[in-house]
Symmetry: C2
Subunit: 165 residues, 2 copies
């Protein structure tokens, strides 16, 4: 890994996010199959569609930079997903599992909020205004998804999980 300039760091950050998004897209169907609440499943399905657009935005940015998107494995997202998959194999009540899945999904969102926040700041410093717009769109979606998950949890998922005691 070369980090001699802010531009190097920007590209590493983008590759990390690109690989993270790809891992999320690969892991999501299994998570979705484990969900019981219809509203939670719908919210996650909608975010899966958004995630595909987020990958397209990154593709567009890599094209503009004329660099490849590959070559970096996001170890952090690999760990987050490994832990989410552990949850799916738990001896679990379905409603408690839904609450646990919300918690795992929020970890994914927060990782992305941190990463996209940095990438957007670097893009701005490097004067890449087109990239800033694309990265900000994704950042807004991640923030909105996180808040929607909190809302769903507070509205009924956690209460249902609480009833199992």
């Amino acid at each position: 890994m070369k980090l001699q300039t802010l531009n190097d760091l920007y590209i590493e950050e983008l590759r990390d996010l690109y690989n993270a998004e790809k891992q999320i897209l690969h892991a999501m169907p299994k998570m979705l199959r484990a969900v019981t609440s219809d509203t939670l499943r719908q919210a996650m399905e909608q975010h899966m569609e958004e995630t595909k657009h987020q990958v397209e935005r990154l593709d567009q940015i890599f094209e503009g930079l004329n660099v490849s998107s590959g070559g970096h494995k996001c170890e952090a997202m690999a760990g987050i997903i490994r832990e989410a998959q552990e949850v799916l194999t738990a001896d679990a009540d379905p409603d408690v599992l839904d609450a646990a899945i919300v918690g795992q999904a929020q970890r994914v969102e927060h990782y992305e909020i941190a990463g996209y926040g940095c990438a957007r700041t670097y893009a701005s410093l490097l004067g890449r205004e087109g990239d800033v717009t694309l990265l900000q769109e994704t950042l807004d979606e991640e923030g909105l998804t996180d808040r929607k998950l909190t809302e769903l949890a507070e509205r009924h998922i956690n209460e249902r999980a609480l009833a199992q005691s």
Copy 2:
């Protein structure tokens, strides 16, 4: 892993955070040695002291619940730290490395914000008001640290990194 009740999920969440904090405390000295900026090092040293208190708060919560704190490895934090350590081995300019370390530290903070946010919500639903107070204190510290890192990055770290091009 048993997730039959919200209380089971609460305990799993606490054990995950406990293990994550222990991993952070173990990894931080190496990160600190790689930092060039004095203000960044001071901010990280201060947060390391806070982290020790956060572990004590969790100890107190486990004692109140009369359950052990062990038995869970936080795979997500292991991945985040593995990635941060990769950054330390990069062929890097010192100022660009500082900017990269801020980005890695913010990933750590965001993981904790997601996790402590869930734990605090579960504690509240379970009527454990004392735990809520302790978890909220930690959550506030994590949020404050994240904002302080952003401020340091915006004030001078990113500008210094930008100058290396």
